[in-house]
């Protein structure tokens, strides 16, 4: 064969030279060029050890000699053509190739067609045909067939002649020779890529049969070329690690492809494919799907983010076609690695290394509070992670962060990290990838169990930290209730009494030292004295505009718990609810205490100053039964005693209302809500009920339990919650608490938006009106008591003087008496007619009517 070939090379070289060199140079000249060329070709074939550059330079030397000859004859065009061909010969590596090439040339020459003929309409296009399943399926679409040298007068031709043109073709060998380049994305004289790299021009000399095959085979080349272009374009420019991983996967596939192509077209003898059909089969089986899949993803790569890419590939792993399924699975395995790294960092360290914003958890660094910073984006949970599992994953990292950053539970976290990194490394959960990086197979049961186990460990410990002796969450909530909701009423009562003088001042004028003094005295005179949390109490005055409020309005109790980790959960935003509630309850308590003090005052007055007047009244009453005629003075005494009595009764009614309000808010609102929203939600209905439940199950159906146990054994760890508290995530706890607090501060009586049906006024507005009336009453009553004392004193003086018969100052006393009587009349009128009859009665009646028409508050209406 080699001998034949070298002869053939000789022959064809001669023919080539003859065809290129114009005849006027003469046979001799042609001969000399031919022999020179042959020498150089022989050198190429024999000296595989020599460097290509030296060959090139020799060739150049050679061609330069002939160049002068061409140029001197004015044959520039021919020279260029000649030189191009010589150069193209240079690129071949073996004589075989040169031989094939030359034969091809010859054929071209004999057909009289130029191989650089203008492009015809036949071209193969990856875009239109990329995913066709069979290369020969639908030839009507193949323009190549329809337009290729259709015989003109078929009727007149013999069948032989008719069919012959179809058999005329570029030889398969030639095609094969060029094909490998094209398949590797290199332009060749036979097949060249369009500038857009989306089309390849097929020569018209290829017949339908080959072009059909080529059409399909070349798709690989086109895709390859595009993919390579894409890689070059994007390499180092992609942010998403998932996309980068995809590019990497693609690169390794393409490398394989190149290897395979080289193998298919092995030039060293053991060529795997000897025909176009072989090539087609080889590619079709191994590559076309891969390339198409890789390409189909690349097409949209810019439009999607890493997560979408991941999801897309994950979806493809469920594709019906086994090949696609396998291929996507192996792609997924690779591109999931960056995602896994994010996931793992999150699950083990609570770190977010998602630089490209693709994870379903985000940090909002503009926020200040722990709970606002970590954000959960359920929409971003990839499809291969179940939503519930996603929630658990979110909570896991959140708990790790909370325990590490806010609770300083470093030792426990360290143990946790050791345990789970080891578990991930050692157990069957791991699928060690090529680069030995750990890959969690996210959709497996093992993974789910791992998450469940981590979650369980963390939630148990977080529960322990929050509810146990480190934070005493429930105890602190109870203490909030005791302080802000005034469950420790005796303490607040003391504060009101001890601060009575100071709180009447403007807040500007109240010294902080006074506050601490009141605090100290109130603590030591109340049940607070023996309570564990008394040290946490503090007083402050709310900041208001220029301190223009009096102490009563701005006084605030402060329960300090910033030494506890729960402080980060119950931030100042949340605590405002407590402050609001305290402010209102404090007002109620203040009035309540004032009314009680008023009672004591009146009782004392009655026993002391009014003792005589009462005695006179008794006698008058008993005597009036007998004769019924009263002097003016006697009438005045009855009037005074009656007024005193009535004012006491009014006070008692006002006090009752305040008591009913406090009672309702304390027990029906606060305690009920605490019981329903905190106790019942936080504590298990039965202590350690879970085990009891299991025991119950066990007694019901032992077989079922056996199955259950078997399933349980497959779980990674068996770590159930064994406390009396329900498993609650941080979010869960916060939402329970928020709900509890909201129900209290927005209960119907206090919510400004709840309007009474009768009055069209909000309940709270009406309550404030009642409180205002109460306050007016108290102020007037104080005045009344003072006047009463004066009056009684004057009466006594008058009496003494009349007894002692001293008349000198009697007029003066009478005058004083008259003044005091007038004032008394005024104040009694104010209290009785204005405050009681006009204001109080109307307001309370309307309020009760409103309550009565409100289904939820009907019961309350009956207590007023």
């Amino acid at each position: 064969m080699t001998l034949d070939k070298s002869q053939l090379v000789k022959l064809y070289t001669k023919r080539l030279v003859k065809s290129l060199v114009p005849a006027e140079f003469g046979e001799e000249f042609i001969q000399s060029i031919t022999s020179d060329l042959l020498v150089s070709i022989a050198k190429v074939s024999n000296s595989s050890s020599r460097s290509t550059s030296s060959i090139t330079s020799e060739l150049n030397q050679l061609t330069n000699q002939y160049r002068t000859q061409f140029i001197s004859r004015g044959l520039q065009t021919e020279w260029v053509r000649f030189q191009t061909i010589i150069e193209s010969l240079q690129s071949f590596k073996s004589v075989d190739q040169i031989y094939n090439y030359l034969i091809f040339f010859n054929t071209l020459k004999s057909q009289g067609t130029s191989f650089i003929s203008p492009i015809r309409s036949t071209k193969t296009n990856i875009r239109n045909e990329s995913l066709r399943s069979s290369p020969l399926q639908d030839n009507s679409n193949n323009k190549f067939f329809t337009s290729q040298s259709n015989p003109q007068n078929s009727n007149t031709m013999s069948l032989d002649k008719l069919i012959n043109p179809y058999y005329q073709t570029l030889s398969e060998d030639t095609i094969l020779k060029y094909l490998s380049y094209t398949l590797l994305g290199i332009d060749s004289k036979l097949l060249s890529f369009y500038n857009d790299d989306k089309h390849i021009q097929l020569p018209t000399s290829v017949n339908s049969s080959y072009s059909g095959l080529l059409f399909n085979v070349l798709e690989c080349g086109l895709i390859y070329k595009n993919l390579i272009n894409f890689i070059e374009l994007k390499k180092g420019k992609l942010n998403s690690p998932i996309k980068v991983a995809y590019i990497r996967v693609m690169e390794s596939y393409l490398l394989e492809y190149v290897k395979d192509i080289n193998e298919i077209f092995n030039k060293n003898g053991n060529q795997r494919c000897s025909s176009l059909l072989d090539v087609y089969n080889a590619l079709y089986d191994n590559w076309i799907y891969e390339l198409r899949l890789l390409y189909s993803i690349v097409v949209d790569l810019d439009k999607v983010n890493g997560l979408d890419l991941l999801t897309k590939i994950f979806e493809l792993t469920k594709f019906g076609d086994y090949k696609i399924q396998n291929l996507s699975l192996s792609i997924l395995k690779e591109i999931i690695k960056p995602y896994n790294e994010i996931l793992q960092a999150w699950l083990i360290n609570g770190e977010l290394i998602d630089s490209n914003n693709e994870f379903f958890i985000k940090f909002d660094l503009e926020k200040d509070e722990f709970n606002d910073i970590i954000q959960f984006l359920p929409a971003r949970i990839p499809k291969f992670i179940h939503k519930n599992l996603g929630v658990k994953i979110y909570q896991i990292g959140k708990m790790i962060i909370f325990l590490t950053k806010y609770c300083n539970e470093l030792q426990w976290i360290n143990e946790y990290q050791n345990k789970y990194s080891r578990l991930i490394h050692d157990s069957s959960i791991i699928d060690k990838g090529i680069d030995n990086k750990i890959v969690l197979s996210l959709s497996t049961n093992d993974f789910q169990n791992l998450i469940k186990s981590q979650y369980q460990d963390l939630i148990n410990y977080t529960t322990n930290v929050l509810f146990g002796s480190k934070n005493y969450l429930i105890e602190n909530l109870i203490n909030f209730k005791k302080t802000y909701f005034i469950e420790n009423n005796d303490f607040i009562h003391q504060v009101i009494l001890k601060g009575n003088d100071i709180f009447n001042n403007l807040s500007n004028n109240i010294n902080v030292n006074y506050l601490s003094q009141i605090l100290e005295e109130s603590v030591s005179n109340s049940s607070m004295k023996n309570l564990k949390y008394k040290e946490r109490l503090d007083f402050r005055l709310l900041n208001t505009q220029q301190g223009s409020n009096i102490g009563w309005e701005v006084f605030m109790i402060d329960y300090k718990f910033d030494d506890l980790s729960i402080h980060f959960l119950l931030d100042s935003k949340i605590m405002i609810g407590y402050y609001k509630m305290f402010n209102f309850l404090w007002k109620l308590r203040h009035l309540q205490v004032m009314l009680e003090e008023n009672y004591i005052e009146s009782s004392t007055l009655n026993k002391n100053e009014l003792h005589n007047i009462n005695y006179q009244y008794q006698r008058l009453r008993r005597n009036s039964d007998r004769n019924g005629v009263l002097t003016i003075r006697e009438r005045k005494i009855i009037w005074i005693v009656k007024s005193f009595n009535s004012i006491n009764l009014i006070r008692n009614r006002l006090l009752n209302h305040i008591n009913v309000l406090i009672n309702h808010l304390s027990y029906d609102v606060i305690e009920n809500t605490f019981q329903a929203e905190i106790i019942e939600k936080v504590f298990k209905s039965n202590k350690f009920s879970q085990n009891k439940k299991e025991n119950l199950l066990r007694s019901l159906n032992s077989k079922f339990i056996k199955n259950l146990d078997e399933t349980n054994q497959t779980r990674v760890l068996h770590n159930d919650n064994k406390s009396n508290v329900n498993e609650l995530t941080i979010d869960g706890i916060l939402s329970i608490h928020e709900n509890y607090l909201n129900q209290i501060i927005n209960n119907k009586l206090l919510n400004e938006n709840i309007i009474g049906k009768v009055t069209r006024k909000s309940y709270i507005k009406q309550i404030y009106e009642i409180l205002d009336i109460t306050f007016q009453f108290l102020t007037s009553c104080r005045e009344f008591f003072n006047l009463l004392v004066n009056y009684v004193l004057l009466l006594k003086l008058e009496q003494q003087e009349s007894e002692d018969n001293i008349n000198i100052e009697e007029e003066e006393i009478d005058e004083d008496l008259l003044i005091v009587e007038e004032s008394l009349q005024n104040i009694i009128n104010r209290i009785y007619k204005q405050i009681y009859l006009r204001d109080y009665k109307t307001t309370i009646n309307e309020f009760v009517q409103d309550l009565r028409t409100d289904h939820d508050l009907r019961d309350l209406s009956k207590l007023f």
């Binding site: 529960t463 322990n464 146990g468 429930i474 909701f485 005034i486 009423n489 005796d490 009562h493 003391q494 009494l497 030591s524 049940s527 023996n530 309570l531 564990k532 309540q592 009680e596 009672y599 004591i600 009146s602 009655n606 026993k607 002391n608 003792h611 006698r619 009453r621 008993r622 005045k636 009855i638 009037w639 009656k642 005193f644 006491n648 009764l649 009014i650 006070r651 008692n652 009614r653 006090l655 209302h657 008591n659 009913v660 406090i662 009672n663 304390s666 027990y667 029906d668 305690e671 106790i679 202590k687 406390s723 009396n724 008259l818 009349q825 009128n829 007619k833 019961d859 009956k862 207590l863």
Partner: protein
């Protein structure tokens, strides 16, 4: 100002009841008879606990209750009742000192003769006058131990000699010395109304004492022996009449002391409301002229829930004085227990309100104390309940006393034991002062009668523009 209470227990009855009362308080605060405290039980029901974890069940550092309102606590952590024990004969006081060595022996005042007051008010009163310096010293000393004295409470009987006589003097002394801003409250046990008493001068004693209650106390709880006996039978299902008189008295005293102790439950175990005696009285006593309070006790029955208990409290047979066709001025119910069911309470309160006949001018509302059960009391009964009310049942009670008094006074019977000498002037003087007391009581009856009318608050006289 809310703070400590000093108890004065005078006479046999006062000290008998006082003994039981301090037993009850000691039990509720975990104080042993010698005054040493037990560790305070911790309520772990709302504490995080892991399975198998043992939480401490008691503490000596912290406590929720306020025994210091009723006890002085020494540096050696010994609890001593803030109580002064007064009697003219030693038997009961000795019993007290023996059973409860926690009593401060220096707070015991015993007559040197030890002969008693012979069921005569005058004897007791005169004795008191004679020893008033001693008595005041005792009171002053106890007062000095208080940071914030709020209230004196006197436990006594109104019918005998010491409780009524010394008790009356004590009220006068307290009023004179502390009457300004310190509340004076009495738990007064009234004699049998129905049966003829073995003490013939009971009506005199009672009238004389009542006058002091009216003048000097801020509130008086009335207990009626007859009613107490029948309640006791009802509550304890004790129909066995063969018991000794002593035993009967003891269980009656236990009942009274149980109620006495319960009254101060919200002070000693403070919560949202009624953590001061002032808050209780100001709710119950609308005006100082209506200050006689009646109590009733709910049966100790574990099957009763809050609702049942509130209704039981309305039942006249559990009232501690006889009541017929009563109108109510105010009602304060106590439900004492743990984790009270607010819904049942509300239901019970509304139902009770419908059943109770209130005087017209009041707000028809029953107030409620959500009492806390002492953590030291480990009995099965989940709930207990008492009721304090201000009602017109005082009218028949006082009228009956007045009738009995009138019967004696008309004949000037047994007057000689109340006079200095038997001459006419002295008898007339004494009878005059007796009648003055009678009139004062009658005026209270009048007050309680007139308060049943609308005009009690909305009197025409207040509507007039020109009264002066």
């Amino acid at each position: 100002m809310p703070g400590e209470t000093i108890t004065l227990q005078a006479g046999q009855c006062g000290n008998q009841v006082g003994l039981q009362y301090w037993h009850q308080l000691a039990q509720e605060h975990g104080i042993q008879p010698d005054g040493t405290p037990l560790a305070y039980p911790i309520d772990n029901s709302l504490t995080y606990q892991q399975e198998g974890e043992e939480l401490p069940s008691t503490t000596t550092k912290f406590r929720d209750d306020r025994p210091e309102l009723f006890y002085t606590i020494s540096d050696t952590n010994k609890y001593t009742p803030r109580s002064i024990l007064i009697d003219l004969e030693p038997s009961v006081i000795n019993k007290c000192a023996n059973q409860l060595p926690m009593f401060n022996p220096r707070n015991i005042h015993l007559s040197e003769q030890g002969s008693g007051a012979a069921n005569n008010w005058k004897n007791g009163y005169s004795y008191g006058v004679e020893y008033q310096e001693d008595l005041l010293n005792l009171i002053d000393r106890e007062m000095d131990k208080c940071d914030n004295l709020s209230n004196f409470q006197l436990i006594h009987s109104v019918a005998g000699g010491t409780g009524s006589g010394v008790g009356s003097l004590l009220l006068e002394l307290l009023h004179d010395r502390f009457g300004n801003k310190k509340l004076i409250n009495t738990f007064s046990i009234f004699p049998s109304n129905e049966k003829t008493s073995d003490v013939v001068v009971q009506p005199y004693n009672t009238v004389l004492t009542l006058k002091r209650l009216i003048d000097f106390s801020d509130s008086s709880f009335i207990f009626h022996n007859d009613s107490l006996n029948s309640i006791e039978n009802l509550l304890l299902n004790n129909y066995n009449n063969s018991r000794k008189t002593d035993e009967v008295f003891e269980s009656t005293n236990k009942l009274i002391s149980y109620v006495l102790a319960s009254v101060s439950n919200p002070l000693r175990f403070p919560g949202y409301m009624y953590s001061s005696i002032e808050s209780i009285f100001s709710t119950l006593i609308p005006t100082p002229n209506l200050k006689f309070l009646t109590t009733s006790i709910a049966p100790f029955n574990n099957s009763l829930n809050e609702y049942d208990m509130l209704l039981e409290l309305l039942n006249d047979k559990y009232k501690m004085n006889r009541v017929e066709q009563t109108k109510y001025i105010s009602v304060l119910n106590y439900i004492i227990g743990q984790n009270l069911d607010q819904q049942e309470i509300r239901k019970g309160i509304i139902k009770s309100q419908n059943r109770i006949d209130f005087v017209p001018w009041t707000s028809n509302s029953i107030q409620l104390v959500h009492g806390k059960k002492s953590p030291f009391i480990k009995t099965n009964s989940k709930l207990s309940g008492i009721q304090i009310s201000n009602n017109t049942s005082i009218v028949p009670v006082f009228n009956k006393i007045l009738r009995q008094y009138d019967l004696l006074a008309k004949r000037e019977a047994y007057l000689n034991s109340y006079v200095e000498s038997n001459d006419r002037v002295e008898r007339a003087r004494v009878l005059d002062s007796f009648n003055e007391c009678r009139e004062t009581i009658a005026s209270v009856v009048d007050e309680y009668k007139s308060c049943q009318l609308d005009s009690y608050l909305d009197d025409d006289i207040l509507q007039e523009d020109e009264i002066m």
